[in-house]
């Protein structure tokens, strides 16, 4: 009997060892798979148990805040500005995850960053996140929304001296409150599911932030870059080209607008920009060569994501120099061809012109605060300097003429020297996109605005310029 008691003891030791092995698997080796299982709501409950920080705009409006709820999640988001800031602020939903600033600054909003002291970390669990103060001004944003109205497009305004994003509006947009709502219908299904489905199926892509993700042919607005690159490459503003209505190149033709295509004769760069002469910029690009045109485009930020504190950024595109033949090069100089730009990219080009050739890092975050204590702030810095200060000033002066007497007169504001460039981008099989790049005041630029209206049918000067004007007026107020 003594022996069998010992056997029983060994049996229990074996059971214990097996249990410890099993635990080690569950808690250490197989842990990852269990933690990431879709039915594991712990991460969600943990994160939604924290009163997430507020998002506050530059004019002290609350753009997002957490309110207590009765459901499984202790706190849920509300967005007092609704659709107005939908793409910038994004959403924070237990079901659909995060988007926009809610995604970009999640760690700050949850109070995980900046790191707390050791004593705090050990004694007090995070209950409240930190507040995010952003550069967006709802006044300017509302002006952009009002001016764009119910037209597919995007408006973005930057402060060229700091890189602060003053407004970024994209339409169609979405209602973030409907997406984060936990309301259920009589059958118990989450109403937000249907909302999300309708957004995803909508052919006009309301969830797409056209400011940062929309890629469009820039049309004549790109001539600002061609001009700046040209001056830097040794073609000063007084370079004169005979600019006929049609210019033959590489077995194909570049044509001016107008019917029949307008013949400008011998003009310099300023006049060419003022009246948007395609054949002038085609010749300028042709004479610069593809290598230099692409080089300057990339200096301004094309072919790479811009360094903005926003999670969804598309890189604007220009083909490589080797891929460009003479026709492609000539048309690229005039902003047509294989080029694709985001409205944000055009605005960044405008910032270099407005800020003496230097591009400041575009950013949405101003500060992170706990109550009134500032925990972190965005240190503004020069991202890069694609062109010299003198080139920038020369292009800026040319752009003033565009608004004073050229294609952009619709953007003129009494008492303010507005600089600008229009763009009417031809799109195959569809109505052209209307563009406008505006800078004001030209003597001391405070704001750079890029406007895009998708397939507007009208020209940049008639459709996009008035929108830019309204935004500039709001920004200079």
């Amino acid at each position: 009997m003594q022996r069998s008691v010992k056997v029983l003891g060994v049996f229990f030791i074996v059971l214990a060892v097996v249990m410890v092995f099993n635990l080690s698997y569950l808690q250490v080796f197989g842990q990852k798979g269990l933690e990431e299982n879709a039915a594991n709501t712990r991460r969600l409950i943990r994160e939604y148990g924290i009163a997430r920080g507020k998002i506050v705009t530059a004019d002290q409006r609350v753009a997002a805040e957490s309110v207590q709820s009765d459901g499984p999640f202790k706190y849920l988001r509300v967005y007092p500005q609704g659709a107005l800031l939908s793409h910038v602020v994004g959403y924070d939903s237990p079901q659909f995850g995060r988007y926009g600033l809610e995604e970009e600054y999640n760690d700050f909003l949850l109070g995980r960053k900046p790191l707390r002291s050791w004593v705090e970390e050990l004694t007090k669990p995070v209950e409240e996140g930190f507040d995010l103060y952003v550069t967006i001004d709802t006044g300017i944003q509302a002006a952009a929304a009002k001016a764009l109205g119910q037209r597919r497009g995007a408006v973005v305004a930057l402060d060229p001296k700091t890189g602060a994003v003053l407004a970024a509006y994209s339409w169609p947009n979405f209602d973030p409150n409907a997406l984060v709502s936990q309301a259920r219908d009589a059958a118990g299904t989450l109403q937000a599911d249907a909302v999300m489905r309708s957004y995803n199926q909508d052919p006009s892509s309301p969830l797409l932030n056209r400011v940062t993700m929309g890629l469009y042919t820039p049309g004549s607005s790109f001539k600002v870059l061609t001009a700046a690159g040209g001056i830097e490459s040794g073609f000063p503003p007084d370079t004169v080209y005979n600019s006929p209505g049609v210019w033959e190149v590489g077995g194909s033709r570049v044509v001016n607008y107008g019917d029949p295509p307008r013949n400008f004769g011998n003009i310099n760069m300023g006049t060419a920009l003022t009246y948007s002469a395609n054949t002038y910029f085609a010749q300028l690009a042709y004479n610069m060569g593809a290598r230099r045109l692409v080089d300057y485009a990339e200096r301004f930020g094309l072919n790479q994501p811009l360094p903005m504190d926003y999670p969804s950024l598309a890189a604007s595109r220009i083909p490589s120099a080797q891929e460009m033949d003479a026709v492609e090069l000539a048309w690229s100089g005039a902003g047509q061809g294989e080029l694709l730009l985001t409205p944000l990219q055009l605005c960044v080009i405008g910032c270099a012109i407005a800020n003496q050739g230097k591009v400041m890092i575009p950013h949405l975050m101003k500060e992170v605060r706990r109550g009134s204590e500032i925990l972190d702030r965005f240190d503004t810095a020069v991202w890069r300097a694609p062109i010299s200060a003198s080139t920038a000033d020369e292009v800026l002066e040319m752009m003033v003429r565009v608004v004073e007497e050229g294609t952009g007169t619709e953007a003129a504001i009494p008492g303010v020297r507005v600089a600008g460039k229009t763009g009417t981008a031809e799109v195959e099989g569809k109505a052209p996109h209307a563009w406008f790049l505006g800078i004001a005041p030209a003597g001391n630029p405070q704001v750079v605005v890029a406007v895009l209206v998708e397939n507007s049918g009208g020209s940049g000067g008639s459709v996009a310029a008035p929108i830019a004007k309204a935004v500039i007026e709001a920004a200079l107020k």
Binding site: M1, Q2, R3, S4, V5, K6, V7, L8, G9, F12, I13, L15, A16, V18, M19, V20, N22, L23, S24, L26, Q27, V28, G30, Q31, L34, E35, N37, A38, A39, N40, T41, R42, I45, R46, L122, T123, K124, P125
Partner: protein
């Protein structure tokens, strides 16, 4: 009553090194003091996590737990000169850990559990004081067995269905789970019966296929009792207790006869029974299916919700745990009773969960050593049976919530919330003390 001066003997062993040895009683005292650290640490860390400061008034909780154990220790010193010095400290760590988890999960339950701890320890001391010679139990084995069966049957007639199983007797505000006490009574019966008949069962009878089959009349009453209790449990849907009864029976049978063939036959019988239950009872089928694939998206929010959430809790804990009151064990239903081990795994991690396993292993080791050192068959078998209850019950539920075996609802001894469970387990501990203490008296008489 005299506690006596600490008989600390400074001795020189053969190698010349000096070691300090303590008398068993002072060993128990010191170990209890060490165990007392657990609830105080728990109190401080729960309060810090929850309030950001230590709530002084809540010192009531650890103080009362530790106080009750010290009181029990002092009384035990007075009424029983010799007992195993490790048992009470081991049990106190488990109980204090359990109440600390309850303190973190549900203050009201923690308070009730402390009251039950007092009642349980008092009952244990009363048993130790009254039952001077445990052989009395041997004499009343059939009475006790009938009492045990009556307890099991009582729920079928008087019981109240809670959570789909009729396991509870409700008496005003009191709820009692008779199977908790029934398992002890039936274990006493098994031990007494087998102590008397073990030779006959092992040696007499015909041989079949190289295995000796015991005569029916030797094994009959035992099998009848066992089958009856099992059937009762199956019809009450108390699968955990059925499995436990079966295990205890096999353990005691094996130890008494030293015949491994009985274990083989028993396991085969079990497989047969389990297969029949799987086919016959939908709730058994559900349990098995939830065990095979708890993460099946089709059942994860239904039948396998509990076990899946329990696994998530363990995963959340990782190596060192989230820290007390920093995890989310509340999402698991029955976290205070059947699933309390999941909350330990989540908040104390692999370290804490392993310590619990080791505590039970030590407890089992002490129980079996009591059996080994006991001079008579009944005492030995009783100690084995009682120890098997603790070992098997803790394995069934810890293995259940970690998906090692199919989940069956049963309490984690000394840790889970539950008055009848705590009460019965302290009686069990008292019986083990009796066997330990009775040994010498018997030996002296001889």
């Amino acid at each position: 009553m005299s506690l006596g001066a600490p008989r600390n003997v400074v001795s020189k062993d053969e190698r010349g090194s000096i070691g300090v040895t303590f008398s068993p009683r002072w060993k128990e005292f010191l170990l209890l003091a060490l165990a007392g650290v657990v609830p105080f640490c728990g109190w401080v860390s729960v309060d810090l996590a929850r309030e950001g400061r230590v709530v002084a008034a809540n010192v009531f909780y650890p103080l009362s737990m530790v106080g009750i154990f010290f009181l029990a220790h002092l009384v035990l010193r007075a009424i029983m000169p010799r007992t195993d010095p490790l048992m009470l400290p081991l049990v106190s760590v488990l109980t204090c850990l359990g109440i600390t988890m309850l303190y973190r999960l549900d203050l009201h339950m923690a308070r009730l559990q402390i009251i039950w701890l007092g009642i349980g320890l008092a009952a244990m001391l009363l048993l130790v004081a009254l039952l001077k010679d445990y052989h009395v139990l041997e004499r009343y084995r059939y009475t006790l067995a009938l009492l045990g069966l009556a307890l099991l049957v009582s729920t079928m007639i008087l019981g109240k269905e809670v959570n789909g199983a009729r396991l509870w007797l409700v008496l005003g505000p009191l709820r009692f789970q008779p199977s908790e006490l029934g398992k002890i009574l039936l274990t006493i019966f098994f031990a007494a019966y087998l102590a008397e008949r073990k030779e006959l069962i092992a040696e007499a009878g015909r041989s079949l296929l190289g295995m000796r089959l015991p005569r029916l009349r030797d094994l009959g009453p035992l099998l009848t009792m066992w089958a009856l209790s099992l059937l009762l449990l199956i019809f009450q849907k108390d699968l955990g207790s059925s499995l436990l009864f079966f295990g205890i029976f096999l353990a005691v049978l094996y130890v008494s006869t030293s015949k491994f063939s009985f274990v083989v036959v028993g396991v085969l019988l079990f497989i047969l029974g389990a297969s029949l239950a799987f086919l016959a009872f939908p709730h058994v089928k559900d349990r098995v299916e939830a065990w095979v694939d708890p993460l099946d998206p089709g059942t994860i929010n239904g039948k396998s919700y509990q076990i899946a959430q329990s696994l998530f809790a363990f995963a959340e804990g990782g190596l060192s745990g989230t820290g007390l009151a920093r995890g989310y064990p509340e999402v698991i239903p029955y976290i205070e009773t059947d699933f309390i081990y999941a909350s330990i795994g989540e908040e104390l991690g692999l370290f804490g969960a392993t310590v619990v396993i080791l505590l039970y292993l030590f407890l089992v080791a002490r129980g079996l050593s009591i059996s080994l050192r006991c001079g008579d068959d009944f005492g030995s078998l009783l100690a084995v049976g009682l120890t098997a209850i603790i070992g098997l019950q803790s394995f069934i539920i810890m293995g259940g919530v970690t998906r090692l075996v199919p989940l069956t609802g049963i309490t984690l001894p000394f840790v889970s919330y539950g008055g009848s469970s705590l009460f019965s387990n302290f009686l069990l501990l008292g019986l083990l003390f009796c066997v330990y203490g009775g040994r010498r008296e018997v030996a002296e008489k001889r």
